[in-house]
């Protein structure tokens, strides 16, 4: 199957790459069986080659949809034209490969449904992330009007304190948008007094302050409806909040790729748009298989060493 999808680079390169790689794996297995140590830099090299090969080959693997992601999609799908959505992008450039595809897909979905988005961030580095996501969404929606279709209130320092205040009074912390324009003059924000006035909140984050803080300081006291997109590292700690305190969650690249798949299934026009998370999942799977092989090799080495020690004692 891998060979079938590596046609883009030419069959010679594909065959050469995968044969060399298989030979390397065989060598690693041989080193494990004979009980010899493999230097960590060789492991790094193999991991680099594995992921590089998969990226260059453009491996795309099928993605299985799950309920936890579908709930976010269905909630947005169920909103009516003109409803307001709050999208908080609480991450920095290091989290962008995982989280930007989510933010882009949710934005595309909202704009396609003619929902109005208010972007904000709890991270000082999040401002640039918002700009990037808006630029990506505008590729498919070039006629979006700032103030009418979306707005960007940017960043305010204060972490949890910001959330505590906007849960009851949005304008107290964000009297203006990112460029100093009063929120009262933006039609997107008409009638929005606090977070519960948004039909849906989607918090996309990779750490603190992030999704956990949104649950603690906004969802619990205000009862706002919230979905989320989490970096893979923090996702396991956030599942306990599902489904009572947040109705759905996209966990890492896998969650993002599921959302992209749903978006393309329901709105085929997005098939021409780049599916960033789906592109990641191919190399991701290959890297996981490689890692699992390493764990198997290490265990073989461990048990053989134990056996040899027992025989010599």
């Amino acid at each position: 199957m891998l060979l079938a999808v590596t046609q883009g680079l030419g069959p010679v390169f594909s065959w050469f790459f995968w044969i060399t790689f298989a030979a390397g794996l065989g060598w690693l297995l041989w080193m494990s069986i004979t009980g010899r140590e493999v230097e960590r830099r060789i492991i790094f090299l193999f991991m680099g080659l594995t992921v590089s090969g998969a990226v260059l080959a453009g491996i795309i693997l099928p993605v299985q949809e799950t309920t936890v992601v579908r709930n976010v999609f269905d909630t947005i799908e169920g909103l009516s034209e003109g409803d307001r959505v709050l999208l908080s992008l609480d991450y920095d450039p290091s989290g962008a490969p995982e989280l930007e595809p989510m933010a882009k897909a949710v934005s595309q979905h909202c704009f396609e449904k003619k929902l109005k988005i208010c972007y904000m961030t709890l991270w000082g580095t999040g401002g640039a992330m918002i700009t990037d996501v808006i630029a990506l969404a505008k590729v498919d929606f070039p006629d979006l009007v700032y103030g009418d279709d979306y707005c960007n209130v940017g960043y305010r320092a204060g972490n949890e304190a910001v959330l505590r205040v906007i849960a009851s009074d949005f304008r107290k912390t964000f009297p203006t948008d990112v460029s100093g324009t009063s929120l009262d003059s933006l039609s997107v924000m008409n009638g929005i007094l606090n977070c519960a006035d948004f039909k849906y909140i989607v918090a996309i984050g990779s750490g603190r302050p992030g999704i956990k803080e949104w649950v603690e300081y906004v969802v619990e006291p205000s009862g706002a409806l919230m979905g989320s997109g989490a970096a893979a590292v923090s996702a396991p700690q956030l599942y306990p909040y599902y489904p009572q305190q947040m109705n759905g969650m996209m966990g890492g690249s896998k969650g993002a790729s599921e959302y992209e798949k749903m978006l393309r299934r329901v709105y085929p026009k997005f098939k021409s748009s780049r599916a960033q998370a789906t592109e990641i999942m191919g190399p991701q799977t290959v890297a996981h298989v490689f890692l699992m092989l390493l764990i198997v090799f290490a265990n073989i080495s461990y048990f053989l060493a134990k056996k040899r020690k027992g025989a010599s004692a």
């Binding site: 490969p97 305010r156 969802v219 890492g252 991701q284």
Partner: protein, 271 residues
Amino acid sequence: MNRKVLIPIASIIVFIGFVLLKLDWDGADRTHELWEALEVTAGGFLTLMIFSFLYKDNAFYKFAEHLYVGISAAYWMCVGFWSNLAQQAIPHLSQSLSEALGQPFLGYIWHYWIPVALGLILLTRLLPESMKIGWISKWTLAFIVASTAGLFITANLQANFIAQIASTMSLPLLPDWTGFGDFLSNFDLSYEGQFVKMFSNWVIIIGVISGLVYFFFSKEHTGWFGRVSRLGIWVLMVTFGAAFGYTVMGRVSLLVGRLTFLFRDWAGVIG
């Protein structure tokens, strides 16, 4: 020529060479093209410099690391000034200063002087020790610690304690149960199926109880109590394993992101 001079000069020449290779000579907007080529090439070089640490610590890695720390500090200082002082404090304290900073004046509120004063007090740590005034910064620190603790306690109790216990206790042991006959005739192993829902709920309940038993040290972990505690360890190990798997996924995603940048944006090998 000295090696310490030769290597940086060679690096700069290689960098310029890559920028020139990246330039689109037929582009209409030459300045924009040049900036874009510089940006992408700098990104590619810095990525490789950071990756070089995987081989061993070296001067290129150190350069990239120091550049990153320096830029981060400068960036945060600017963000701190604009988001705290320019956009929040000054618009409530001075009309002329607000206008000078391009911010709308939002009306004078005297108590905005309190955070400004606390901020200035915090800076007394930077004064020479001989002035013996640095201790006053502890007032601000005490305020930060106390207000944070106050905020955390109530929010954590509600979201992470009461709501979690309530959610766990309200889990149905037999979800959507209408009888054994219906259960068998509609048997479904899919994620949405009744069996999987029921199984998940049982796993959560047994997992929570056995996990709590593992951390109960007032009774010796022997007999049935020990067996439940042992199950608790397994639950914890499975949880850590899942978290590790997710962590690997996250790190590989970042690696894929960087490699995609190198191959697509910089080298232009993939479309």
